[in-house]
């Protein structure tokens, strides 16, 4: 039997309609909008000023604290302004706007396709390169990678797990990079193993991508320490805690981090970015993005520079269809609805999804009938119906006791609820408040 995580999970239809289209390079636009908040933590601090000339790959913003990341220019041209610009949720974020002029790359970036196999960098050099290249987790949370690869003192990882599950419906960007650049990803994984000092690495890929599994396994002889594991298709397999359970059968303790189970999980896109940063000296300023939807004319995968406006991405697949009702940045389960079509892509943008009215409009809510389906599918073993009620009543102490802070916001409960209750909507509000309370408590 194929491996998967034990608790909960759902099986949405995978709709991987763009899986067959190869990665195309998206044309460089006239203007890009590079957000200063592309990672978890404090926004980066711009180090360029209006009117400055910048090159592709040039550092334009430096981290403003421990939990922060570098940001590099994705284009060459002139800084038009540094101002608050609305992100996809409509909230203002400090943004560097660059008028593009030519495509001049920073010296030292290896732009050839040759695969650099030999690892010469030391552990410290790899970590420094990753931090200097502004790499963040490309699985969605945008956690700065160099911090994740430096476990806190007293804790030790014995496994590196690479996440190639791509369990979200519609998304195919990870699938395409595993298919087209398998060896580079494996080298990236090897680099991270060296940085972590671990000897074992498991690479989890869901069974609905047999070609990607085969592409990775053809290098088995060259990379014997990395084992590619075919996983049973189940959402949310790509969640860190779920992947750890699926691959090595360990459970992360409540309120704990993956490192408490002796594992570090990295997305396969992050592995590719690490390869490019360390072996090719190329900072993170572009990524592969799926632009898809059942109603769009085409469904394609692009290699896209950071800061490309979302409406330009839509134009490349035939424009916004008349039937379109909702745009989502990311997958349909965990992605964020796009309220501002002029918003620009960020490092961790993995997809732009167009949904029709019948796919998105919520159905009429009825009463909770205590069927327990949400409890069955919750991959964290929580009781969503109860958390929903407690969050609505603002009963923070009870929420904390029911471990609302362990919720990974995967949306399985909402997906499965036969009464169409907005479980996750309320739980998310409660979780945010409980975490705020926990942070405000004095540390023991």
């Amino acid at each position: 039997m194929k491996k998967t995580f034990a608790l909960g999970g759902v099986h949405p239809h995978d709709h991987k309609i763009s899986a067959g289209s190869a990665i195309e390079t998206f044309p460089v636009l006239d203007r890009v909008y590079i957000s200063m908040s592309q990672h978890l933590g404090a926004p980066a601090e711009p180090i360029v000023a209006k009117g400055d000339r910048v090159k592709v790959g040039q550092l334009i913003a430096k981290p403003s604290g421990f939990m922060s990341a570098c940001i590099h220019s994705s284009v060459s041209g002139t800084v038009a302004s540094i101002e608050p610009y609305a992100d996809l949720a409509g909230n203002l974020v400090k943004t560097i706007i660059i008028d593009v002029d030519g495509d001049e790359w920073e010296e030292g970036i290896d732009r050839t396709d040759t695969v650099v196999r030999e690892i010469t960098a030391t552990k410290e050099e790899i970590l420094k390169r990753i931090a200097d290249s502004g790499i963040v987790g490309l699985g969605g949370a945008s956690f700065p990678t160099h911090i994740k690869l430096t476990p806190p003192p007293g804790k030790k990882a014995d496994y590196l797990l690479i996440n190639g599950a791509e369990c979200e419906p519609y998304l195919t960007s990870d699938h395409r990079i595993m298919l087209e650049m398998p060896e580079q990803i494996l080298i990236g994984a090897r680099l991270m193993m060296k940085a972590l000092g671990v000897t074992r690495c498991l690479f989890g890929v869901e069974e609905n991508k047999p070609d990607a599994i085969a592409a990775l396994r053809q290098f088995k002889a060259s990379y014997p320490e990395i084992e590619v594991v075919s996983l049973k298709k189940k959402y949310p397999q790509g969640g860190e805690k779920q992947l750890i359970d699926a691959l090595i059968g360990r459970r992360v303790p409540a309120m704990g981090l993956p490192i408490d189970a002796g594992a570090v999980v990295q997305n396969c896109g992050t592995a590719l970015a690490v390869y490019e940063a360390v072996q090719k000296n190329k900072p993170l300023f572009e990524g592969v993005v799926t632009v898809t939807g059942d109603c769009t004319e085409q469904q394609r995968n692009f290699r896209l520079r950071v800061g490309t406006p979302l409406d330009k991405m839509l134009d490349a697949v035939g424009g916004l269809p008349d039937k379109a009702m909702k745009l989502i940045s990311g997958g349909p389960m965990m992605g964020k609805a796009v309220a501002n079509i002029k918003a620009a892509s960020v490092k961790s943008t993995s997809a732009l999804l167009v949904l029709t009215e019948e796919q998105t409009l919520r159905k009429l809510q009825t009463q909770c009938i205590r069927c327990g389906k949400c409890v069955q599918v919750c991959p964290m073993g929580l009781e969503p119906y109860l958390l929903n009620k407690l969050a609505k009543a603002s009963r923070m102490e009870d929420l904390e006791r029911e471990r609302v802070q362990d919720c990974i916001e995967c949306g399985c409960c909402l997906y499965t609820c036969p009464a169409q209750l907005p479980l996750l909507d309320n739980i998310r509000v409660g979780k945010a408040q409980v975490i705020k309370i926990l942070r405000s408590r004095p540390k023991k």
Partner: protein, 285 residues
């Protein structure tokens, strides 16, 4: 037979007396000394337990009042000045009369004034909506219209107007407890002085965008044009972050600012209807 009954009664009576004595001794020994004034003050308070005073309920407020040296800063918004006077009299302390306040909704972004830019289809809750995005209109500051304030009001003083999509405060019922202010994730609601004869003026907009952007999103937005600042004879109006604010302590209700406002963002409440200028001229003639 009768002796069994008598013995039973005697035993139980003796036991009862013994336990009563124990209870009495324990009650005397571990007696909690409580200021009797707390009970008196609590009896004077309205008993709404709304939390508007900042204490966790009326009893907690009563305890704080009794312990406090002066009653400065202690105010029960529900009972208002009459109740606070009684409390002060019971405690033998001085209290200054506080101006009665009322909640005002600082947003005029009705469905007509503020075109919707997206359809919100999620849970009917401002808190949830604010967590997801900046709102379903071009204005990222204004009322989200899901009615969290109406739900939070313990006095049924707020209801949502279905025609405008904005909350309406019933000033007869509003006690200025502040629950709606806390419930609003956008900070649209403010507690302001009720004003003489309940007349008051306020800027019904908190949009901090530049004039053009704000105006595009909402036809009743404050565009920060400074006209109100210029006409105000009392220096009561200030423009900060592209939005005007009237200081109710300085405002003398002359209404010049409302007249000057090009977008109608300054709202006047409970004033007699102003006659159009031409009509006044005719009258004089």
């Amino acid at each position: 037979m009768s002796s069994t009954i008598l013995i039973t009664i005697a035993c139980l009576s003796a036991l009862g007396l013994l336990l009563a004595a124990v209870l009495y001794i324990v009650a005397q020994k571990f007696k909690v000394e409580e200021d009797p004034r707390i009970d008196d003050v609590e009896a004077l308070l309205p008993g709404a337990n709304c939390g508007g005073c900042g204490s966790a309920g009326c009893r907690a407020f009563a305890e704080r009042c009794v312990k406090a040296e002066t009653l400065d800063g202690y105010f029960c918004p529900v009972g208002g000045n009459p109740v606070m006077k009684q409390v002060a009299a019971r405690l033998g302390k001085e209290i200054a009369e506080a101006a009665p306040r009322v909640a005002v909704v600082r947003c005029s972004g009705s469905l007509d004034n503020r075109p919707r830019t997206s359809i919100y289809n999620g849970e009917k809750s401002c808190k949830v909506m604010a967590g997801l995005y900046s709102g379903d209109t071009g204005c990222r500051y204004g009322c989200l219209g899901q009615g969290d304030c109406a739900v939070a009001c313990p006095f049924d003083a707020i209801e949502m107007n279905p025609r405008t999509g904005l909350p309406v405060v019933n000033e007869e019922r509003c006690t200025a407890c502040g629950n709606c202010v806390a419930a609003c994730p956008k900070g649209v609601i403010e507690l302001r002085n009720k004003g003489p004869k309940s007349r008051r003026l306020f800027v019904s907009c908190i949009n901090q965008d530049k004039g053009g952007v704000a105006r595009k999103a909402c036809s009743a937005a404050c565009i920060g044009c400074m006209k109100c600042v210029k006409v105000c004879p009392f220096e009561a109006v200030k423009v900060e972050n592209n939005v005007a604010y009237i200081d109710f302590n300085k405002c003398r209700l002359c209404r010049k600012c409302a007249e000057a406002c090009p977008t109608g963002a300054i709202v006047e409440v409970n004033f007699p209807i102003r006659l159009p200028k031409e009509v006044e001229v005719e009258k004089q003639a």
